[in-house]
Symmetry: C2
Subunit: 239 residues, 2 copies
DNA sequence: CGTGTACTTGATACAAGTCAAGAATAGTGG
DNA sequence: CCACTATTCTTGACTTGTATCAAGTACACG
């Protein structure tokens, strides 16, 4: 049996046995969190980073008027706030979108690890760098694509990430996102999310019912979304 | 005389003398790049990261239809593509917005440094994590704020970052951004940038002429933009 | 002193927001 | 197992913010 964290990092690079050993003792005991609860609040100063074993959560920020913007969706296998090791005070919160299982990695242990395992540290660093790449891609779609393409792009991203995590196949996956959540991701009102969702359906690109998503025509959806998976770095990439 | 890179990192944490020594030999010889040239193109696989000694540049992505979206502005003292150490193939390009002076740090040297100086490595890691925080903040303004607030927010961010770099004071600074560039940052057409610029002027919040920007009423501008500087981590924050 | 770049303004079109109401659907308790 | 409730989704009518198209004007520069 191989740890979920080891498995995740192995997607990107090989791990020496002492590196696997170091990782195997990094995570503390699993903890369950209920859907809707705030795993981290903006302004928190966590003393550990949190690994998402199962379930879905999202980074969020709130405006003065109370509007919510989600800035990243986290899927099982993600370190949801590894960056809190370095950026002590959180600039955003993290909300559980479904019931989740999470496991802590103490910052002290991570700092110690960074002194002993340089290559492993770079691999963790890469994880935070990929978060940045995802943010950039979202910026591009927000700034330069219309609502329908944005939604299509999100669907493509989620499918690729879930497939890499072994949680999707045959162009089918499940995410606990309501149309309100989608609006908070895409910077749209729920009403407009519904309209562009209908548009994608009527064009025969997707089905989406409850949490179940089915991509009917991947090629056309990806082309409509101008989706190019390279930013996700799902292929092997030694550091 | 203290190197610009050392100076930059000292803003966030102390450096031991051996760390300063390691940094002092990290950067290669200065190189001049002309305004408008592409320092890095999307898809490049650089073997060094680039430190910006002087001038302004920006990360950009292009859509299929040729629209440009800028995803971050870099000011002197920034490592403009430190993340290329880890994410080998660039997901975006970097364009010089003005004449710039840059200096390379070879990836081989950075990798070696990460094996010998864990604390220093974490400090560099922090730089890339702050990039992510800036991206997130832009996502929030893109998704949930109108054009005028977005422009106001950008002005606040640039002022704070330039002031921290010693390049701005008295609510006054210079940036080589045209209204076309601003549109590419904010996800707007140049025409609309002009209109919201006029709006901020008529409200007595700013003056902006050529590259010269003057903030007439910081408190009101910041409040209008819902600007909160904490995401920039300009205060001391040992890692 | 002419020419190009950046900026400005106006008229009109369109994408997305707002407000409102009703239809599905999923839980929940009797 | 059904009735009640609360979400979530769907649709329509209308408004608003930003884009588009088209002409200018102001400057900087060679």
């Amino acid at each position: 049996m191989i740890g979920a964290l080891v498995q995740k990092l192995l997607r990107r690079d090989d791990l020496a046995s002492d590196e696997r050993e170091a990782l195997s003792v990094l995570l503390g005991p699993d903890r369950r969190v209920a859907a809707g609860s705030l795993i981290i609040k903006p302004g928190d100063r966590p003393t550990h980073s949190t690994f998402l074993v199962s379930g879905f959560c999202a980074r969020y920020s709130l405006t003065v008027s109370g509007d919510r913007q989600l800035t990243e969706i986290n899927v099982p296998g993600d370190f949801i706030d590894l960056h809190s090791l370095l950026m002590k005070q959180m600039d955003h919160g993290i909300v559980a979108l479904s019931d989740c299982v999470v496991a802590p990695a103490q910052h002290d242990d991570l700092r110690r690890l960074s002194g002993r395992h340089a290559h492993l540290t770079r691999l963790l660093w890469l994880e935070t760098v990929i978060d940045g790449a995802i943010h950039r891609q979202w910026l591009v779609t927000m700034g330069r694509q219309n609502a329908a393409s944005r939604l299509a792009h999100l669907i493509c991203e989620l499918y690729m990430r879930l497939e890499a995590a072994g949680l999707a196949q045959d162009h089918r996956f499940a995410v606990p996102l309501t149309q309100v959540d989608l609006g908070d991701i895409l910077g749209l009102t729920p009403v407009h999310v519904n309209r562009v969702m209908m548009e994608l359906r009527h064009q025969g690109l997707i089905e989406w019912k409850g949490p179940q998503v089915l991509i009917l025509d991947w090629a056309q959806l990806a082309s409509f979304a101008e989706f190019d998976e390279t930013y996700l770095r799902l292929r092997r990439d030694p550091v």
